[in-house]
């Protein structure tokens, strides 16, 4: 197994992945960069690639980046673990968690 280079990085802010990009669908149009009111993203230096999530800890979970994305499936919301909701099947009583 090839040794992966390990950098000395500080702790990562939390939550750090409010959305997940699908690079096969995202064409780097940066609509999400523009509609985010807190500037969570910056454009990727490589044109055509998904933006970089630079300020994930400032995410409002407002959802505009996903809702206004012109290429459905390019961005998926990824709620922090502590913010995942519960529900129950009325017929079976089985409890689910997102």
């Amino acid at each position: 197994m090839a040794q992966k280079k390990i950098h000395a990085l500080p702790n990562i802010v939390s939550p750090n992945t409010p959305v997940i990009f699908n690079p096969d669908i995202c064409d780097g149009c940066n609509t999400c960069v523009e509609v985010c009111q807190v500037d969570v993203y910056i454009p990727n230096p490589e044109k055509g690639k998904p933006p970089i999530i630079l300020h994930p800890d400032e995410c409002w979970y407002g959802g505009c980046c996903v809702n206004d994305c012109p290429r459905p499936g390019a961005i998926t919301f990824n709620w922090p673990v502590q913010q995942r909701a519960y529900w129950k099947d009325k017929a079976t009583g089985k409890v689910y968690k997102a």
Binding site: Q37, V38, P45, Q83
Partner: protein
């Protein structure tokens, strides 16, 4: 590879800042009307001013396309008594709203002794927000069920296709709240701004108001700001300005990584408008009021994470065994009441303790009639601010409202800690032109004290825009003080001069901790003064150490300075109110009497020659609402005709 650390891991270096850095550059912009804040109120102010022929500049910290609390969407156009199906008179309704505070307060039996409402804003809302709604439709906003998706739903009128909400309408007795497709609004507003030639400055933070001769209390003649992407400085010169900024939702928020929890407002809501108005010398009121933050419930806070919520109207709340709770159905019989009466809440609490009601509770979506479930899930939750993404996420995870009960978090989340607060919607004192106590400065939306909802923001923005434009036609150009600009420039750019000390997050936590310690549940003169001393210490010893590595962090740093100022205002206002008040959520240990008659008034604070001056205004200082509205709006022409 979209996370910063992935990028770093691959290339071994941080991505370059993607925008040109222009700290050393300056733009000067001249305009008749300057609108500060591009949310709902700001966009409406810009549009209505531009429609009179005035030149308009609109400045927004985010991007006007989706910025502001109402940027993502909105599901209720509240208090629209001038609509054709309304069963109440607009002036009577405004009067009632003024006597019974709160969005649902109009259902209360007895008027509140000290309501601390905003009679001016309320009257404008009740008189003009139906016209505002029709103008929203002209611009492309969807306000009725034109696609016939909800035929048969309760509250839908087949002739106009308006869909009414149960809010404040028990048994359809008022019909004053209309359901709307608010996700369509903000892009339409930005498009109209562009069509009218409004100059939009997105990603620019306004940092101060400029006054004639640089004198505190003089006419407002412009503002300063900077780009939060490039750092470029901007000096705006205006004949009239409209302050349409947001409130302050993080002054007591110790942890800067919890912004996703406080979902009524985004990270950007840091009270900049109040701070700059204060420094310019405007008189402010209701600054001592606070609310309790609802932290950490489900996806969001209690309102959208559980079933006991306005947007879940018509849903029966049941316990873990399916037993119905004595909780309002939030439908027409109870006028959309969101919370049980204190008596019923006591019954539920006791029932939980004795095992009569098993936790957790659930919202019984499957028990709803199909059409009502569709209205609630698709129209209300699909259009309201940040909830559209929640319904999408639930659905993707397999939630089916026709089969599944949605969990409610009442009780099991515990009680919100009292030191985690938000500032309670104070703001500049305004007159019947929505003008502040400073010439040339108008106020709209949330920034007016005791502000309301989306339709309030829209209608007061529309009103302030036309009044500001009127003023700009009557007044000559003001003169900007270059000294004032130079001082502000030095203040703004101090954090980029060095690269060590403290960052904005540490400063923010320090300010929040001061507010948690000295201005929360337990208030005394000694504690409040200790709070002022603590903020002074932060100002003198820690602010000079503040550093910012890029224009975005510079914005967050300058926001902290707004918060610091905001904290000082709140503490001064709290010292000035020497009584306790239920409605202001304001309890002084040294003055415990609740709402004594002599304190049933607005306490005001302002800076005069750099010194804090407290004052007061009568609880209904605006006088006869109907008569004053009419005398100030003889030339009002109604719905825009193009």
């Amino acid at each position: 590879m979209t996370k910063w650390h992935d990028f770093f891991q691959k290339g071994g270096k941080a991505p370059p800042w993607p925008y040109p850095i222009r700290y050393d550059q300056e733009q000067e912009i001249e305009t008749d009307v300057l609108v500060i804040g591009g949310g709902i109120a700001g966009c409406w102010a810009a549009i209505s001013a531009a429609r009179t022929g005035a030149t308009v500049a609109l400045v927004e910290k985010g991007d006007t396309i989706r910025s502001g609390a109402g940027g993502p969407g909105c599901d209720h156009w509240c208090h629209v008594p001038a609509n054709p199906h309304s069963k109440v008179d607009p002036d009577e309704w405004a009067k009632k709203m003024n006597e019974y505070p709160g969005i649902l307060g109009t259902l209360q039996k007895d008027p509140v002794k000290c309501p601390y409402a905003n009679g001016i804003g309320t009257q404008i809302q009740c008189r003009e927000n139906y016209d505002t709604l029709l103008e929203m439709e002209q611009m492309g906003g969807k306000i009725r069920d034109v696609d016939d998706e909800y035929i048969g739903a309760e509250g839908r009128y087949d002739d106009t296709k308006f869909m009414f909400s149960p809010r404040v309408s028990p048994n359809h007795s008022t019909e004053v709240v209309i359901r709307i497709w608010g996700t369509t609004f903000k892009p339409a507003l930005k498009k109209e701004c562009k069509r009218l030639g409004v100059k939009i400055y997105d990603r620019v933070m306004v940092t101060s108001l400029l006054t004639e001769g640089g004198i505190q209390g003089a006419r407002v003649v412009g503002a300063t700001g900077f780009s939060n992407r490039t750092g470029e400085f901007m000096a705006f010169k205006s004949k009239a300005a409209v302050l349409a900024t947001a409130g302050d939702f993080s002054l007591w928020m110790l942890n800067t990584e919890l912004s996703g929890y406080n979902t009524f407002r985004s990270r950007n809501s840091t009270g900049d408008g109040v701070a700059m108005a204060w420094r310019a010398g405007a008189e402010l009121t209701l600054m001592e009021r606070t609310g309790i933050l609802m932290l950490g419930t489900g996806y969001k806070h209690t309102w959208y994470g559980g079933a006991g919520d306005a947007s879940y109207e018509n849903i029966q709340l049941v316990d873990a065994n399916g037993k119905k709770l004595p909780w309002p159905l939030q439908g027409w019989p109870d006028g959309g009441a969101m919370r049980p009466s204190p008596e019923d809440m006591e019954k539920i609490y006791k029932g939980v303790q004795t095992g009569e009601y098993a936790l957790p509770f659930y919202g019984d979506f499957p028990g709803m009639p199909d059409i009502e479930r569709k209205v609630t899930w698709k129209l209300m939750l699909g259009e309201e601010s940040t909830t559209k993404i929640i319904t999408k996420t639930y659905e993707k995870a397999g939630f089916d409202p026709s089969k599944h009960l949605l969990q409610n978090y009442s009780f099991i989340e515990g009680t919100s800690p009292s030191q985690w607060r938000n500032a309670g919607g104070g703001g500049p004192v305004i007159d019947w032109d929505l003008k502040s106590t400073l010439d040339g400065l108008y106020v709209a939306g949330e920034q007016t004290f005791s502000a309301g909802d989306h339709s309030y923001a829209a209608s007061t923005g529309r009103y302030a825009g036309r009044k500001a434009a009127d003023y700009s036609r009557q007044i000559g150009e003001g003169k900007i003080s270059r000294d004032q600009v130079a001082l502000e420039k030095a203040r703004i750019y101090a954090p980029i001069k060095h690269s060590e000390g403290i960052d904005w997050k540490e400063l923010h936590a320090g300010i929040a901790r001061t507010m948690q310690y000295f201005c929360s549940e337990f208030k005394t003169e000694l504690l409040l003064n200790m709070g002022l001393d603590s903020l002074k210490d932060i100002e003198e010893n820690h602010v000079p150490r503040l550093y910012a590595l890029d224009p975005h962090k510079l914005m967050r740093s300058i926001e902290d300075l707004s918060l610091l100022t905001h904290g000082q205002i709140v503490l001064n206002a709290s010292l000035a109110r020497r009584a306790s008040s239920q409605l202001l959520n304001f309890f002084r240990i040294d003055y415990p009497e609740l709402d004594p008659t002599e304190w049933c008034k607005f306490v005001t604070v302002k800076l005069e020659n750099g010194k804090v001056k407290a004052g007061e205004l009568p609880i209904n200082y605006w006088g006869d609402m109907k008569a004053n509205y009419e005398s100030h709006n003889k030339d009002y022409t109604g719905v825009y005709k193009g």
